[in-house]
Amino acid sequence: MNRLVRILLCLVCLWASLSANADNSISADSVRTLRPVTSTYSVEYGAASTLDTYLSPLRYQGSTITLSGSWLKAMRQNPQRLIMAFDASIGLESQLSPARNSRLYDFSLDFSWSMMYRWRPIEHFQVGAGGGAALNIGALYLARNSNNPVSARASVDVTANAMASYSLHIGRLPVRLIDRVSIPMVGAFFSPEYGETYYEIYLGNYAGLAHCGWWGNHFRIDNLLAADISLGTVALRVGYHLDFSSGKVHDIVTRHTTHSLVIGLTHDSLNITGLDKSQNIIPAIY
């Protein structure tokens, strides 16, 4: 009997909670809701290492530079709870073999879109979790090789995304700490077979090039930890970016790691005129 009462109490609480949310929505609709875009433009520079056994059995090491942009916004459907993010980056790496007599170049383009549900368990602290889609294309180029100088990279993934942010003051300086993580869960990616030349692909043999990706054959984790230091209308972003991937398909093993220092500028922008107090501003990051 006690159990039944508890279940009923839970259902009542749930109904009350939903009603409250509905009331909030109605109340939010009565004023104009504005959803600024939190834009960040960054330069990332750091260390990189690459292994791609299609090109070489050796692990190359060098430097990476990336230009990236990130745009976050509360979603129209439920701006208090839902946010979406679009990220794009272009990266270039130059790495040397262990004997330092051969150079490898890595060019990559990344695009991702994600949607997250967010909570504010305590004041100034926000966590979010959700999913999205990511596209990565790129190529490795190893000039010393004859018929296998290039390893192309292409993948489309469904990703799991999470973020956390905490706003604080250091002295009188507002600072926002933020961490964003993205992990591909499933997807599709390109890989030639073990000893297949791109010439054979050029001749028209497209069999076995596309693969279903999951953690077992195509793992990647992308983590950004940053501090946004307010400078007035804009904030200076200083952070650390880890990008790690590891894969194995057709007995070709790939591994790629970058550790980068992130320097950027971030700001909230609104596409409006005539802001007044009746307007409700809901940012993507509190």
Partner: protein, 339 residues
């Protein structure tokens, strides 16, 4: 909270295991470099079965010669001797001080060609050159093309000019003697001028794993005639070959042999029917090796060469060149004049 921590731990463990795709590593020692070389070839070289090579036995035999304190030069010689056991002109070990090269595919045979004799006694030092191709109209109204290397990229416009110049001829000699190969895309560009319908050029396969017998199904590949408006040639052709025709030149000979209007004259080509891949050792040395077998239009191996057309095997004697005679070219001129 306890459940949450367990869940997060499980995710962390899963991620850790998922991210561990092991790969083989070797240290930069004599043993490490030797083992890296042996393993790379063991897992990627494509002609072990065709050549009946027991690579394990070869490895054991040469590894026994690794002695403490072996110098880089001594290690290079040892490794070079080991890969020479593959008897493959596409297999080279590349160091800062030397490049190993298995050359017995041509040094054990007569050369059957002398460029000076050709230029002086047959072309009279008077010929045109375009895109790396020498060409001229010879006596009896026979066109002549000498293409010394498929590394020279051919322009479509250059080919138009060459074939337009030779269009009045009754027959054509294409001389690829001493052509050591180059880019397969060049032979496609060139060959498209001599076919008038889609032509099965051969089959290509590749390794699908590290096992000696792990190969893909043979993939047939076709060449298509040059676009309408381009100069083409469909009259008789004599293709001159010798033992120094290797790699892409060997492929070219194999494809040309399948065309009804083409006669191969000279001596068996040097082979090289496997597209080479590259890899490297921890000490920075490069290794190149045959990785993808290409066969002819009947799916026959061409790794050991392509024979001339039956009844058209011709060799030169050393005194021929002293006298300014090129017996293979003479045979071709006579053969085409007779047609």
């Amino acid at each position: 909270m306890k459940h949450l921590l367990s869940f997060l731990s499980a995710i962390l463990v899963t991620l850790t295991f998922a991210s561990c795709h092991p790969y083989e590593e070797w240290d930069d020692s004599a043993e490490g470099n030797f083992d890296a070389l042996w393993t790379i070839l063991d897992e990627h070289y494509c002609f072990f079965d065709e050549k009946d090579i027991d690579w394990n036995e070869v490895g054991q035999r040469y590894r026994a010669r690794l002695v403490p304190g072996i110098t880089q030069q001594e290690l290079f010689v040892l490794c070079a001797e080991m890969i020479d056991e593959l008897e493959d002109g596409h297999t080279n070990l590349i160091s800062p001080f030397d490049i190993s090269y298995y050359d017995q595919w041509w040094t054990d045979y007569p050369q059957d060609f002398d460029i000076r004799v050709l230029q002086e006694h047959y072309l009279g030092f008077d010929y045109k050159v375009s895109s790396g191709i020498y060409y001229k109209i010879m006596p009896n109204n026979i066109g002549y093309i000498y293409y010394p290397s498929f590394s020279s990229t051919i322009g479509e416009g250059n080919l138009d000019w060459i074939l337009a110049d030779l269009a009045v001829c009754d027959a054509l000699i294409i001389d690829i003697r001493d052509n050591g190969g180059g880019q397969l895309t060049n032979i496609e560009t060139f060959l498209r001028r001599f076919i008038h319908e889609p032509t099965l050029a051969g089959y290509i396969r590749h390794k699908t794993g590290p096992g000696h017998d792990q190969f893909s199904e043979p993939y047939p590949f076709y060449y298509y005639p040059a676009e309408v408006g381009r100069m083409t040639w469909h009259k008789p052709i004599a293709l001159l070959i010798n033992r120094s025709c290797f790699s892409a030149a060997n492929n070219f000979a194999a494809i040309m042999k399948s065309l009804p209007n083409v006669t191969l004259i000279g001596s068996r080509t040097g082979g090289g029917g496997g597209m080479p891949f590259s890899a490297e050792l921890p000490n920075g040395w490069g290794i190149r090796f045959s990785a993808c077998p290409i066969t002819d239009s009947l799916d026959r191996q061409i790794e050991t060469g392509v024979d001339p057309t039956e009844g058209c095997e011709v060799h030169s004697l050393p005194q021929d060149f002293v006298l300014g005679i090129d017996p293979i070219l003479d045979f071709a001129l006579s053969h085409l004049s007779g047609q």
